[in-house]
Subunit: 211 residues, 2 copies
């Protein structure tokens, strides 16, 4: 089950955030989903302290681990592109997500590999290998040029941009990942297109993803 | 002397790029500038191979080193924010710039620390320490929220955004840097403002930069 946000945010909202995430883990279990993806939140409002924000995330995950283990739901830490560091997620590289995940039991915490966010990273391949079976989700979409003015909704169909999916996919498979390849394209134009057209494009482009 | 672009780019443009950069080094020497800043270029047009682009940059710098040493001009490798990786600079983190610079003599190749590009990096402080006396330029401006639609010209005055300048500046000074702090704000509104107003704001904000 992807998409619920972990945002430890402002200290006085901390208890509410934890309660919200416990509810999300419970909901995932009720739905039979084995994974809950965490977009961990940006800087604490009013603060410039990246270290504080990162420690709060680690602490929050630690508090959620027992419930996740009890209900059999793994949390997947997703690194977001550094352009979202300030306001959406201070975990900016896959390597940071791996370092964080490795502090917790493997059955409770994993990582997400989303090509859009991590494709540029010179250490990506080694961090994927290091992630190994901690990878709980592999998401693909393309980085298109020129950089769209709306960076949140500016993703492209696989093959429309610059990402070398073959190498990344081979690394994810070599790490032992055997789950779905999720095509996740935040793009208002694609959302507005007929679903069958989008599905057709995805099917056509899939060989490129698999290298 | 900041601002000349190193772009090894397309193979058939390689000789022209090298000639252009030799001319820039010569020009810097004629002006009495001791530094030439390199914005190293994005992916090779038509290619998705980040490794190729990075190797071409390393090779190009190696070819330029003898002239730089002969004329007493140091080249400064500038890491650009990962959102510019595809089209402007495949050197996306200070650590990559340091790794690259350390392959060459210290009197020929250094690195630039530009807060706008590197503030988000969890390894920034350790990479600044590792850079040490290789730091040839320290540039400041702020990362403002929300992310401007024009990411190239969306920088803010120091203090208007989220960057923790105190910690970064302390690290740069501790590394032994004794040069200028360059205020470099790519922002059409600020460019259009009266120069004395911009200078006044910069002077007022400077204590925040120095922590």
């Amino acid at each position: 089950m992807p998409g619920r946000v972990l945002h430890p945010g402002r200290p006085r909202r901390r208890a509410a955030s934890l309660a919200d995430n416990r509810a999300a883990i419970t909901e995932a279990a009720e739905l039979g989903a084995d994974t809950l993806i965490l977009v961990c939140g940006g800087l604490v409002p009013g603060s410039r302290d990246l270290g504080l924000a990162r420690r709060m995330i680690a602490d929050a995950i630690g508090e959620l681990v027992p419930l996740a283990q009890q209900l059999g739901v793994r949390m997947g830490i997703e690194a977001l592109h550094p352009m979202f560091c300030a306001d959406r997620c201070v975990i900016s590289r896959l390597g940071e997500a791996v370092d964080l995940a490795l502090q917790f039991p493997a059955n409770a915490v994993g990582v997400v590999v989303d090509t859009y966010h991590v494709w540029w990273d010179a250490q990506l391949v080694s961090d994927i290998a290091r992630a190994g079976l901690r990878i709980v989700s592999y998401q693909v979409c393309d980085w298109v040029l020129p950089l769209p003015r709306d960076t949140l909704l500016g993703r492209g169909h696989v093959g429309d941009g610059v990402i070398d999916f073959g190498q990344i996919s081979a690394s994810v498979l070599a790490a032992g990942y055997a789950g779905y390849v999720e095509v996740e394209i935040f793009n208002a134009g694609i959302w507005a297109a007929p679903a069958e057209q989008t599905a057709k494009t995805v099917v056509e482009r899939f060989p490129a993803v698999l290298g």
